[in-house]
């Protein structure tokens, strides 16, 4: 077990799993509460267009992908508010258009771009120091935003109408959340790739939502399960011939299935305890 820490690429991979696992599960908390799950898939597929554009033009694909990801997230929120078009319709359009742009640009490539395949399917084992710096920077920015506006974000997720009536700058804070989500998706593409990234910003929060009835517990459990999925998947891919991205998502999916089974059992146990205490 200890030998996996001896390799430089594994040390970087573990650090990436720690950063991305924490970041995704924090954002996942809001994604589940605000019902933004489909947006995660939309952002990642649009980011593919940005990544491909970066590769063709010589711009850093992480930068161009981030611009597309954040732009998609924020414009989805903006258009749905001013245009009275539902968010899922806009996401559906972005999802297909971004993917189409990516495919069109990729098919025009001449030569071999190994980084493109890493971004499509994820390759945590090829994470560089430059990638880690980008992840750490994103984590600092998003963590500071969430800490500063946590109570307002929670209120907007619970009852946006009431938050607006109270005079809170709902649009600005919500746009900030969407931008944070876009950045998180882009950071996580390094880990599991465009195709699977939506799972990382949905499943940890969904597990925690199933298991906890208070937001503090939900946030804590979301982070715990996000990290468990990231490290668990990484370990599985080290010992078995399974790509890390797929292993991480499968571990999270298994935990979710267990949570689905566990909830009724927990309810039954709590009801029994309450009955005993009331006697």
């Amino acid at each position: 077990m200890i030998e996996i820490f001896e390799y430089g690429f594994m040390q970087r991979a573990l650090l990436a799993a720690l950063l991305v696992g924490t970041l995704c599960s924090t954002i996942s908390f809001f994604v589940v509460l605000k019902r933004l799950s489909f947006l995660g898939a939309g952002i990642s597929h649009t980011a593919l267009g940005g990544i491909a554009l970066g590769l063709i033009t010589g711009v850093d694909p992480i930068f161009s992908g981030s611009v597309f990801a954040v732009g998609t997230a924020m414009s989805t929120g903006y258009i749905s508010r001013i245009g009275k078009i539902s968010e899922d319709t806009i996401i559906g359009i972005y999802y297909a258009s971004g993917m189409a742009l990516g495919i069109a640009l990729i098919s025009s490539f001449k030569g071999y771009y190994p980084e493109l395949f890493a971004l499509l399917f994820g390759n945590i084992l090829s994470v560089t120091v430059h990638d880690l710096i980008f992840m750490a920077l994103a984590m600092v920015i998003i963590t500071v935003f969430v800490i500063i506006f946590f109570k307002e974000l929670l209120m907007i997720c619970f009852d946006e109408e009431m938050a607006e009536a109270g005079g809170l700058p709902v649009v600005v804070i919500y746009m900030g959340l969407l931008a944070a989500m876009g950045l998180t998706v882009m950071v996580s593409i390094q880990l599991v790739g465009v195709v699977l990234v939506a799972a990382l910003v949905v499943i940890p929060g969904a597990i925690a939502y199933r298991l906890s009835k208070n937001f503090r517990g939900m946030l804590f459990l979301s982070i715990v399960f996000g990290l468990a999925g990231s490290f668990g998947g990484l370990l599985i891919s080290y010992y078995y011939p399974v790509p890390p991205g797929a292993a991480i998502v499968l571990v999270l999916a298994v935990i979710f299935a267990l949570a689905m089974v566990a909830r009724p059992l927990i309810d039954k146990y709590q009801a029994k305890q309450t009955g005993v205490n009331n006697r």
């Binding site: 307002e152 009536a165 009835k213 517990g217």
Partner: protein, 253 residues
Amino acid sequence: MKETIKVDQVQVVLGGKAVLEDITFSVSSGELTGIIGPNGAGKTTLLRTMLGLVPIRKGQLEVFGVPVSRLKLVRPRIGYMPQRKSFERRFPLSASDVVAGGLLTPETLLRPVSAKNEKIKKALQFVAMERYHNQPFQDLSGGEQQRILLARSLVRQPELLLLDEPNAGLDFPAQQSFTELIQSLKRERNLTVLLVSHDLMSIASAADKLVCINRTMHIHGHPADVLQSPSLDEAYRCQFDLISTFDKGGSRS
């Protein structure tokens, strides 16, 4: 009596369509006024207009003597309870957490809320729900959830309370108990209450005044006068025979 709300020939246009036209009425301090009208009459839009959430195209709307465009000056004096459909019922919050949401204002951005626990405790006492403060909101019954949401709208101790369909989705005993609670809060705290409801009889028996709208103003006055008026039939596009029921004490028809 002082006028808390003054609505004068207000027109609201949404998506190029006039959803409210020529609405005129006033609400005096300490009054419980019911806004009635059929589905799609613009009752909720009217309430949202008073909160500055929907812009006015024409006319004037003043709350505490301040034009609605400068509402932030008087916002702390207004409590609001939106319709229940506006939130996710399984949201992982305790009753206290829900009430704490009512304390968030532009002034509490980037800083903690002062004396939060005392304010929450007091608001829960107003609605006789203090023993539920730690209970998950999702575990409470519909009637209990409504009381918690009412506590949230009372937590800043407002003088004016705007309630949007507070009885919707509740069974009859819960509706009655909630209406009695509103009436007692109004008496004890001298609150001015504006209550939107589609349940004509329950609101008629509780309110001091009724305002009947259906996109445009139909009638405003004492419940007995409103219920007898042909304008009510016009607004609902059907014939009512409610006044005899109302005279018997306002029980449900």
